[in-house]
Point group: C2
Chain length 221, copies 2
DNA sequence: TACGTTTATGCCACTGAGTGGCACTATGGA
DNA sequence: TCCATAGTGCCACTCAGTGGCATAAACGTA
């Protein structure tokens, strides 16, 4: 009896789920999202459309599973993390990075890249991806309010911090996906750290007009 | 001959467009978004479904028009604004505030509140709303890169600044929509300023654990 | 007033996503 | 061996969204 081995029924269910994800990423990438019908996908996986919708809430959902795994781990981690008196923003960043460390499933990085590129190319997938980020942000906010000491329940700062975290994540994902070579989790971690480091500068960055006029007054706050 | 009076054809088109928006906001609010079919809406406005889709890209779009007007004005304003050596973030905030000043159409504020509340209550509308923000962000980023002097074209800071602006806007919108009484543009402006002011603090906000440390105050909300 | 051109609209048939209902089968427990 | 239960397949249905083509209204011109 293996503890890490759930009953057969669940294993089977998980296998069809993974087959749907892999086949969907493959078909969507090769043929395009809209040009691939669900009937086609279900036929390829030998599953009824009804079964598809028992596993995923909509057509977009199946292709976003890899990224969703990361954010689920983020929320798990956030539920147990120790604040230890450092800025919330910093803690959120570290929480995301340790969630990333947990993404050890085989080929996860490759699937995330496929998923992201599809989202970038498909309006409706982009929309659903953003919606997922939004719902995750709210869930995280609830955890933060529940576990940490925040005087004013209407304080907008925690929410902004989470939004900024997500914005940085998406930007880092974009950078990482455009790298050449096989995608690796370590590289994503590096891109995340770089992007996090750029956050404070985004509030103070000063720009002048472009080329026609010379910069009248460079950096001053 | 009135200069501010476009040809009859365009006026008619605009009128059906506005009728669709107003009727949609009304029906969606009263009956719910999903429980209102497009056939129903088109029947009420006495327009064919084909005409609906010539005016709006999808069912969600019609209910987001009021907010889209604001962001269109924001982009217009951004195309002509003078950077004058202040931080980009500050300039973006002021640009949005002056775009807001231009929203003088009758009942605009009320429509925005309806629109926002619908988005908050309807997952697919929320998703499309976020997608619209994202596309607007990209458009704004293109303008910023085109008009202002940014050394590195891959600099993530302008993008982050825009994302933060949008996050603050959405948060301010939420606060404003929950106010009691008739919604006013001035109140939205005030909520925007408040939220903008909270941005720097969101990066440095420090939190401790909830119940254990502080005085004997039980952890009930 | 008569004319052609342009532009918006109506109508109709069609694809495909997503749902509800019910019967069927495989798993796991007694 | 039998039964309860979870998961699946099948079928019919609703409704969003599209393509094509004919029509009508608006505008310019003679």
């Amino acid at each position: 009896m293996d503890a890490a081995r759930p009953p057969l029924r669940e294993r089977k269910k998980l296998r069809t789920r993974e087959a749907l994800i892999d086949t969907a990423l493959d078909l969507f990438t090769r043929q395009g999202f809209t040009r691939t019908t669900l009937d086609e996908l279900c036929y390829a996986v030998e599953v009824s459309k009804r079964t598809f919708f028992r596993n995923f809430v909509n057509k977009e959902d199946v292709a976003m599973a890899p990224t969703q795994d990361l954010w689920a781990a983020f929320l798990d981690e956030l539920r147990v993390r120790d604040p230890d008196g450092r800025p919330l923003m910093e803690m959120l960043q570290e929480t995301l990075l340790s969630a990333l460390e947990r993404m050890t499933a085989d080929g996860w990085a490759s699937r995330v890249v496929l998923s992201r590129n599809l989202a970038a190319a498909t309006p409706s997938m982009n929309a659903h991806g953003l919606d997922f980020c939004d719902r995750t942000t709210r869930a995280a906010l609830a955890i933060v309010h529940d576990r940490f000491d925040i005087a004013d329940p209407d304080d907008v700062r925690p929410r902004l911090a989470l939004d900024i975290l997500v914005a940085a994540f998406n930007k880092a994902l974009e950078k990482w996906a455009s790298r050449s070579g096989a995608p690796s989790r370590a590289d994503l971690g590096a891109d995340l750290r770089d992007t996090f480091a750029a956050i404070p500068g985004s509030l103070t960055l000063t720009v002048g007009p472009r080329s026609p006029e010379p910069p009248a007054r460079p950096a001053s706050i």
